[in-house]
Symmetry: C2
Subunit: 198 residues, 2 copies
């Protein structure tokens, strides 16, 4: 158990171990219920190392719930898909993202921590608004763009919760192809279908 | 501030006040972080009254996260709607349910508490499986019925989270008619559309 910061090349490994433990603790016990000491014990590091790396409990929470750059890159790439294929592409992106342990663990922690921690709820709102809604180029004007993106988010987030966080069957064990066939056309309607009242 | 159980006709009023306070506390602080004393203070009753009414902290959580009978009745009624109108009826039911403070406050508490409390997560799973999925008469066999109902749940839960719990715009302020026009046809496809891979 290291009692002080390791050499430079150890830092990445230790930081990742701390963040992984922090995600579990925050998701399970919330902001108020999580102690740096408990995170340190679970990560098998000295509490001082957590302060050294992340400055404070606030800094630790922030780092633990910030999605990796590769998630943002994959979202950007998804939104560059031709509009006619976007419905299918959006759900395939969700399947790929959550299958990637680095990204899936952060998204899971954000959703669970958001339930009882205001800062994280704001971050979740930002992830949805910037990450999902912000990148989109849907609709004829800003209002329609935000509405279509919000509807897409509502379906993707509900699906991710049932499949990955709450693990409700049979959603949790549908094959990727079954998921794409089921959700793709519904997402496509939010992309370019008629969604306004008559 | 009553120091002991009131007469029989006061019980409903006091119990409702205690449950309302408990929902806020559990949702905010989680199971471990919630003290009966804090609930009593917020409800302006003596802690002994809470034990008298609900037996234990477990009993209090159970009562605070059990949806009222009128919710179950409304779900039963919804599923009795002719299949061709079910998509629209399902989303109208969600709009009505959440507008009813008695029901909306319980559903909100269940979703938020479920994030960090295993018992409540099981209850949420039950609400989805029995309340939403269990009542349904969709599809040709049990497997298809569960799949279609699960897809419907994924859309309705994601929508309710964005609109009522996280209050993400513009979903939070769309009119009821806009919501029905946007979500109804998508839900209808999950009810009786083609959702299988080619």
């Amino acid at each position: 158990m290291p009692k002080h910061p390791g050499p430079r090349d150890e830092r990445g490994v230790l930081a990742a171990r701390i963040l992984s433990a922090a995600r579990d603790e925050f998701a399970e016990h919330g902001w108020a219920g999580t102690a740096i000491r408990a995170v340190a014990r679970s990560a098998e590091v000295d509490p001082a190392l957590i302060y050294h790396y992340f400055g404070s409990k606030e800094g630790l929470l922030d780092a633990a719930t910030t999605p990796p750059q590769k998630w943002l890159d994959s979202v950007t790439q998804t939104w560059a898909t031709p509009k006619a294929e976007l419905g299918e592409r959006l759900i395939r992106n969700v399947l790929e993202i959550w299958a990637d342990e680095d990204v899936g663990s952060v998204l899971r922690a954000v959703v669970l921590t958001a339930a009882h921690e205001t800062t994280t709820r704001d971050k979740l709102r930002l992830i949805v608004e910037r990450g999902l809604i912000g990148e989109s180029t849907l609709g004829d004007d800003e209002d329609e763009r935000l509405r279509r993106s919000g509807l897409i988010s509502s379906q993707l987030i509900g699906f991710a919760l049932l499949r990955y966080v709450w693990k409700i069957e049979p959603i949790a064990s549908m094959s990727d192809d079954e998921v794409v066939a089921a959700l793709g056309p519904n997402l496509q309607r939010y992309v370019d279908g008629d969604i306004a009242p008559n």
